[in-house]
């Protein structure tokens, strides 16, 4: 057990070191650009997972928070004439605005569950997109252009890279803290059986809502960072419905509700998809993408990591059952054990 822990810690240190020196080794801007996009998705997928993965409330409206953060950044950077590293100071504020939006969204949407929740988040998404293309503060359908950061072209990407890296590390650390806290436990209990959790004294609404708000805060910061990097904010790009599906897929690919899963999902899928778009030119890619989705869903239904972990835990449980004193029953039980059926 301790050996495993040491191994894990060593792996973590190596990973952090790789993240830290990446731009020094790969100085080509295309490499860092790939890395920035990927890190942004690491942040967003982890933040999404912190809410949806833990609580089981599948949000397809996180683009609302991403976009809110992005538009706040675009408006504030222009109106307050903030550029360069000064503009980065706006990130927490952007997160705060997104978190503020999440409160009414959550208060309404979290009253319903499952499919209805999913569709309500989609509805919020479309309202946000519509607002962005109609309001004058967002520049309407013409969008907004942000001041161009005054960084040297050779190292232009580096400040964005490191900021994204720091945010990603903090987000993953936070996700880890949440997961091992009693609060995280309550979220996961809500995922498994919300009514039962409520019946056992869990204050479900505050728990769910705070998770959504926290997730929105981080997502908003990521959106702000992204829009400053891209330099333009258009409603259809900032509020992109496929952004949500992308994030969901990343979390699923790696393993919903785990810490490393969404990170792995983002690390694999975002570069892969960008790189692949560069390589393919036709619609065959669409068919292949869809087919590959299906392969993942059908053959790795719980994601890469949980599928692996499941085998481990199962093996351990079997061992434990053999080793320990059976709780006063014969090995064969009348009723068979069937895992994972959550009722609603």
């Amino acid at each position: 057990m301790t050996a495993q822990r040491t191994l894990r810690a060593a792996g973590l240190v190596v990973l952090l070191a790789v993240v830290a020196v990446f731009p020094l080794v790969f100085t080509n801007p295309t490499a860092t650009l790939f890395a920035i996009d990927t890190l942004i998705f690491v942040i967003v997928a982890s933040a999404w997972n912190m809410f949806s993965g833990f609580s089981g409330y599948l949000s397809l409206g996180h683009a609302v928070f991403y976009g809110t953060g992005a538009y706040f950044m675009a408006v504030a950077a222009n109106d307050w004439h903030m550029n360069g590293s000064a503009a980065f100071e706006l990130l927490p504020l952007a997160g705060l605005v997104a978190a503020l939006i999440a409160v009414p969204v959550g208060l309404i949407a979290l009253r319903v569950r499952r499919h209805t929740f999913v569709v309500i988040t989609i509805a919020f998404f479309f309202i946000a997109q519509l607002a962005a293309s109609n309001l004058s503060v967002t520049g309407g359908s013409s969008g907004l252009i942000l001041p161009s950061p005054p960084f040297a072209s050779a190292t232009f990407n580096n400040p964005f890279y490191y900021l994204a890296a720091v945010l990603a590390v903090l987000t993953v650390a936070l996700a880890w803290l949440v997961r091992r806290s009693r609060y995280g436990l309550q979220l996961r209990a809500i995922r498994d059986d919300e009514d039962r959790a409520a019946g056992l004294g869990v204050r479900t609404m505050p728990v769910k809502l705070s998770a959504l708000v926290l997730s929105a805060f981080i997502t908003g910061m990521a959106g702000a960072l992204w829009v400053y990097f891209i330099g333009t904010a258009y409603p259809m790009f900032v509020f992109d419905p496929l952004f949500d599906l992308a994030v969901v897929l990343m979390a699923f690919f790696g393993g919903l509700g785990t810490i490393a899963g969404p990170v792995l999902g983002a690390l694999v899928l975002e570069p892969a998809q960008q790189w692949l778009t560069l390589q393919t030119t036709g619609y065959e890619s669409e068919i292949l993408f869809g087919a590959l989705f299906l392969v993942i869903i059908l053959f790795l239904p719980r994601g890469v990591l949980p599928t692996a972990a499941e085998y481990l835990t199962k093996g351990r449980a079997v061992l434990a059952r053999r080793r320990e004193r059976p709780p006063g029953q014969s090995p064969s039980e009348l009723a068979e054990s069937r895992g994972g059926s959550s009722r609603s």
Binding site: A197, R321, P327, Q329, E333, L334, A335, G339
Partner: protein, 265 residues
């Protein structure tokens, strides 16, 4: 630590079907009361109403002298009424130990001074220790690291009983604790219930297994078509013609009738 649970005139219907009609019963303090009746007689519905999962059309629920009729499940639980479900409702994707940490162990407004009651807001060491104690008590501490979803049916029943005990409830409602559980485990379960009762807890148990009920309960109440038709010590109930009528009429004498449909309505 102990309290009497009572319902008075509970009435409930689902879309024209009368599930409970003027149902009045008492689970006396410190005793084990059995609640029996044919399928569809309203037992689970009554449990749901007592614990706040459903609202009665009329009638009242009392815990001691306090009325808890329309309290939310969380409140009922906090007041010291724990329950299990006919089809166990554990958290399948949490480990057994994690399941134990979900209930808040803190009793507000419950009977004061009960042993083992401690503050557990942080899920800290104390909470964890107590959880392990309870798992040891029910005998599934060896499985504390396993995902609850991988447990056998009987083990789930034990887990559910265990985590209900985390909050140290004065009254425990068990919905078919022996249903679908193999005989040796049933005995184990009966022992545990007995032991808990001796420590002063009040039990109200819905069960089809007559040997289990008659062997364990001090009092038995019989429900038919949503109304209490008989109540008294097991020996008396066993020979009550009304009870026999009710059971024979429904042709469900089989004490092991385990696969009652999930929804009682």
């Amino acid at each position: 630590m102990t309290a009497e649970l009572a319902t008075r005139g509970i009435t409930k219907s689902f879309g024209g079907v009368q599930a409970l009609a003027e149902c009045t019963l008492t689970a006396p303090s410190g005793q084990i009361t059995g609640l029996i009746g044919p399928n569809g007689s309203g037992k689970t519905t009554l449990f749901n109403i007592i614990t706040g999962y459903e609202r009665p059309d009329a009638g009242q629920v009392f815990l001691g002298s306090q009325e808890i009729t329309k309290a939310a499940p969380r409140r009922v639980f906090a007041l010291g009424v724990g329950r299990t479900f006919q089809l166990t409702r554990i958290f399948p994707r949490l480990t057994v130990l994690e399941n134990m940490l979900v209930p808040s162990g803190h009793l507000r407004g419950g009977p004061a001074g009960s042993p083992g009651q401690r503050n557990s807001a942080g899920g800290g060491r104390g909470h964890r220790e107590r959880a392990m104690e309870l798992l040891a008590f029910t005998g599934i501490d060896g499985l504390s690291g396993a995902l609850a979803g991988t447990l056998s049916y009987g083990q789930r029943k034990l887990l559910e009983l265990s985590y209900v005990l985390v909050a140290d409830p004065a009254v425990v409602l068990l919905d078919e604790p022996a249903g679908g559980v193999n005989p040796s485990l049933v005995n184990h379960l009966a022992d545990r219930i007995s032991e808990l009762n001796k420590a002063g807890r009040t039990f109200l148990i819905v069960e089809h297994n007559m040997d289990f009920v008659m062997g364990l309960c001090h009092q038995v109440t019989v429900l038919d078509y949503g109304t209490v038709i008989a109540s008294g010590p097991p020996d008396l109930i066993r020979n009550d013609p009304r009870v026999l009528d009710a059971y024979l009429g429904s042709a469900l004498l089989d004490a092991q009738a385990a696969d009652e449909p999930a929804v009682d309505d």
